[in-house]
Structure formats: C-alpha cells, structure tokens
Assembly symmetry: C2
Homo-oligomer: 348 residues x 2
C-alpha cells in the first residue's frame, strides 16, 4: 500500500503502436479526460532498431512522434537523442516505472523483455508489461522479485487490451479461488472465423484482418493458437497460481478449418470459435486452445470480429463473464493507464 | 487510504436471508475459503420484529441462527438478547461497520435505512448497505457525509448481487467517464419472461419464481419495474453523478405482456427482456426501464432465469459487459465480503 513518488517518470521500452498511442495521449493531455489524476513524464524511450531518446526532465513526445512519422526512426538531430540500448537504459536511467512494450518473442521464450523487467525490479522500480512473454515464461520469478523489492509488477494490457481482467480478479474477487478460466482471446483467429461464416475463404479472412490492422504481416502465431496459448498461460499463472508454459497447452490451429466445415457447423446452429481454457486437475493445472463448436445460445457465440470474452468460474462468486466489444488502439493504451492508476492509488 | 481498525466489529441491521447466510459463513469460517484475510465479529443484530442481540465481544451467531430456526425470533433466554431498536443500536453500540440489510421500502423513500446510514456515518463509522434505498433516495447526501467523516460508504450487493459492478467501475475503470449504462437487473421479471417463452402463463411464471425463492410473496415491485428502476437509479447516481429518483424513471410494467406477444416476438427471433438504461442528455440524466425486443444475437438475449448483465459505455475503454450466471444467496452474501475486503485493503 505504498503510494508511489509523483510525478511518475516512465521508461518506454519499445515504441510501436501502443507506445505511440500513449505518447499521443500524453501530448494532448488536456483534452484526454482520463489523465487529470495522473502526473507522468517519459524520461526515456528505447527501441531495437529505431534509436533511443533520453532526458531526465522528460523527452519531447511530440518531437518523438514527428521523428517516427518523418524518418521511421528517432533523428540524431533530436536534442533528446541517445545511444542507449534497452537493457542499459533499464539499468542506468532514473525512472519510476519501466513500461515494457517490445514485441513478444515466443522463440526466445519471452526474452529480452524478461531481462528488462528483472533489471527494473531488482532496482526496486515498478514494471508495467504489455508484452505477455514475462507472464508466460517467467511469472513466478518476476513476481517474487517484485515482492522482494517492494515494486509493482502490472500487466493489464496483456489480455483483452484495456478491459479489466487482472484488475478485476485482483480488486473485485478477493477471497475467491478461480477454478476455471475460459475465453476467446485472439482477435485475428476470431475475425477469420467470422469472415468464413460470411462466405469468404480463409485467405480472404486473413487479408481482411490485416487490412483492418487486427492481424500482423505474419499472422501464423495467431492462427496456430500460439498467441492464445500465451494468453491462457498468462491468466493461469497469474490468477490460478499455475506454472505453465505455452508449450504445455493442448493447442489446435484453425488453419485446417475449411469453409465447408464452417458452413456445415452453421447449419447446425453453431459457430466455430478458438476457445482458450485453463483448469485444475487434482493439484496440477491444464490448459487448452481448441477450435470448438459453440451453440448459438452460448455467450461465446456472440463474440464477433475483434471482440473478446473471458469467463471465470469461482468458488464464492459463481461464474462471472467479462466481454469487450470493438477494442481499438486507444483501449489498449488505456490498459497502461489503468496500471498507472493502480500505482497512483497504491492499489497494486 | 486509511486502513481500518482490526478486527472489524459489525452491526447487522436486519437479519433476513443475506444476514443469515453471512452468519452461517462466519460460523463455519474455517471451511469458507474466502475469509482467511478477514477478522470480523458481529457485535449487534437488530431487527424490526424479531428482537435484537448485542455483545461487545461478539454475539453467538450459531445461537442466533438457532433462535430463528426454532422460534422465528431471538429468544429472550439468549444471553445476548437486547431490547435495542435499530436506530438506537446505530447511535449507541461500538461498531466499525454498520451493515444495512433491512428490506427496501419504496413507499417510505428508502427509510429507515437512510437514517441508519446517516447515524453511522456521522459517528465516522463505515456503512455497507445491501438495501438500495439509500442509493436511490439519498446518495449525494450520504456520500458527502461519508467523505466529511472519513468513513466508507459501500454497496456492492445492491446491484447484481455479489458480482463486481461498483467495484469494477471504482477500481478498474479509473479515468473513464461512463456515458451510458444498460442492463438486465431484475431476476423475477426475467424469470417470468423466460417461463412464458416456454409456454407457461404469466401467473405460472410468477409462481415458479416464488417456488425457486427468486420472487417475493408480493412480486409487484419486480414485475412493475420498480426494483429495476431503483437499481438503474442507484447505478446512475453512483457511477454517472446523476441525482435521479426512482419516480424519474420512464418505467414500463411487464404485467400486460401476453403469452401471444411472447410467442409472436419469438417467431421473429427476438426475446422480450426488461431492460434498464441510464444515459446523459446534455447536462442532465435520463433513465428508463422498458420491455424491449432483443434480437437473439444481442448479449442481453442470453440472460436466462435469474442471471443478470450490465453494459457500460465509456469514453476510453469502449463497451465493457459483465454477466453473472446463476447467482444464489451465497453470491449475494459475497457482495458484503467484497465490501469488507475493500475496507480491509483500504481500497475504498
């Protein structure tokens, strides 16, 4: 229940879509209604291949955004320009919160994000991660490190964008034991399945998701269930006390699902959805990501396009479902603000 | 962020279903998993017509439950027996939290629950109300009183039983402005409408709801939309800053809905639901409770029997829905525990 120092000085590791949206929000602070209670500055931004910025009194975010728009990277002419690599910045800069926004690497088992988080936590600095890797590959160790160093380790954005999932369980379901978690948590696969129901081919569905910036250039992690596996493992590790890894998940790809099968299932008043699940089995935990046939009267059948849903089965509170409709980059960025609010109110 | 004194001494005002379930939970504390972090005792129980109990070191809850089971009221032979009326107990006893569980009276505009809450708050004691009256008829005044006296005023149970609604908005949506709230919040009316879809008459539906202890002996407040009006007003007053009263709600009864209409709507792939709504209109607020035709692919169409749902439309986080499936008296009692946890963690 330690109140954080204010104003909060942030170090951004990574400056992709979420980082830039956050920067936009912070530069137009006056007309973004959610920020009145927060006083934050960004003292460093590091990237893998776009250079870095650092300034103790706060980097010029408008200039940072302009640099990227104009040259695709930070300009050496930018007065805040720096040669710092992310890990160096995590070790050396004076910040309160490291905001980890580098892309997830499943091949590298969550690295280098895990090292960034470790470095910050060892220094007693808070970590907000938007990268799911640290939760899926090193949650127990990082949680222990955070507790030992009286630092917060927050991650609301990692599952269902800014919608309250971890905060909900942490703040609103105290005393409950979560027995089971089910959800639809991957937008790209859901978008493609919905597109096929409308008569498009698998490939047309993928291209549509890319055109709407839901899917990445290489969507295989989404379609093969890896992204969903990482998310259900993150939920199970954080909320159920599991110690699973993505490779432990009984995982099914949707890439073999044909338009014929979709049509046949639809005729039987069902929809195919990529459903993630985690549950207890005796003293151990299991997780699965499966293309399941969902009857139309089931809440999961209503999740369209980029929407998502999670259902918690608890001992005291029964079944609680949270649905997010039509998320966008602003709602994702809000997840980081939610974590900053948690720091601000000492509710972490 | 003031941590409360521990252990927490509670005064129960009212001892109906929720109070008795709480007493059962507190007496079998060892095998109720949610209580490990809470240390509470009940120093008084007052009722309107069943007598009262009081003991500074904690009344004997097992004996209290036995009294009710055996004689329908507290026995004068009970060593904790007391003649205290509720308002006297609120003024005189030494407690930390007044738990208001008396029945809602719309005719008396939330009284006497409002006076109980006022009395406790003026003494700087926390109030947890399960009675919606104080929120629907006197929220602004009580909130002000609570703030002036550095006391908490909590009420998670009042809408959707123990499911997180107020806590969700308070803890997980900080910085957001809620623009609109819609929900299905009355179990009895929903149960009756579902029963009519299955071919039963209105009266058979009501008797079914009574048999399952969803509806009270006189279900008119539920069927005429008064209970739903009180709930939507509570949500609007607490979460949107409105200052509405139940009589301001544009309210429709479901009692004139015929099985024929239900059938005809069903044929058009729709369901009739009692939908509560609150929204901003310029600088003022409006609320309605209406029997609406909901298309089957809308999330509200999936709410069956005693389930409930609420949808928040926010500026930063988009649309967030929370669904509660199959609540029972234990989940309702959990709402009080959730408020006790909020006091315990200083998160109020």
């Amino acid at each position: 229940m330690v109140r954080s120092r204010f104003p909060l000085k942030l170090l951004f590791v990574g400056f992709g879509n979420v980082g830039r949206e956050l920067a936009r929000i912070l530069t137009r602070k006056a007309d973004y209604p959610g920020l009145t209670d927060l006083d934050v500055s960004v003292v460093g931004i590091t990237t893998k291949s776009r250079g870095a910025l650092a300034r103790e009194t706060g980097v010029d975010l408008a200039r940072a955004l302009m640099d990227l728009d104009e040259g695709g990277r930070f300009s050496p002419q930018n007065p805040d320009y720096s040669e710092l690599a992310s890990l160096e910045a995590a070790s050396l800069l004076d910040y309160d919160v490291l905001v980890e926004m580098s892309p997830l690497s499943i091949e590298n088992r969550g690295q280098p994000a895990i090292s960034h988080a470790e470095t910050a936590l060892r220094r007693g600095r808070h970590v907000i991660t938007c990268n799911k890797g640290p939760l899926a590959f090193a949650y127990k160790e990082l949680r222990k490190l955070a507790d030992e160093n009286n630092a917060a380790f927050l991650h609301e954005t990692t599952v269902m964008d800014g919608a309250p999932v971890f905060d909900l369980a942490r703040c609103c379901m105290k005393g409950n034991t979560i027995r089971r978690i089910d959800g639809i948590l991957n937008s790209t696969s859901n978008y493609v399945l919905c597109a096929m129901e409308k008569g498009l081919t698998f490939e047309e569905g993928v291209r549509g998701a890319q055109a709407e910036q839901i899917a990445e250039a290489d969507p295989s992690n989404d379609l093969d269930g890896w992204d969903a596996s990482v998310k259900i493992v993150a939920l199970a590790n954080v909320l159920m006390g599991a110690d699973l890894r993505p490779e432990d998940v009984d995982r099914e790809s949707i890439s073999s699902i044909t338009p014929e099968r979709i049509r046949e299932v639809k005729e039987r008043k069902r929809r195919i959805k990529m459903v993630c699940s985690a549950w207890r089995e005796g003293s151990s935990f299991k997780a699965a990501v499966k293309a399941e046939e969902i009857p139309l009267e089931h809440p999961f059948a209503l999740v369209d396009a980029a929407g998502s849903i999670v259902r918690f089965e608890t001992d005291l509170l029964g079944r609680i479902l949270v649905t997010e409709e039509n998320p966008d980059i602003t709602t994702t960025a809000y997840g980081v603000l939610a974590d900053l609010y948690a720091l601000h109110s000492g509710n972490r």
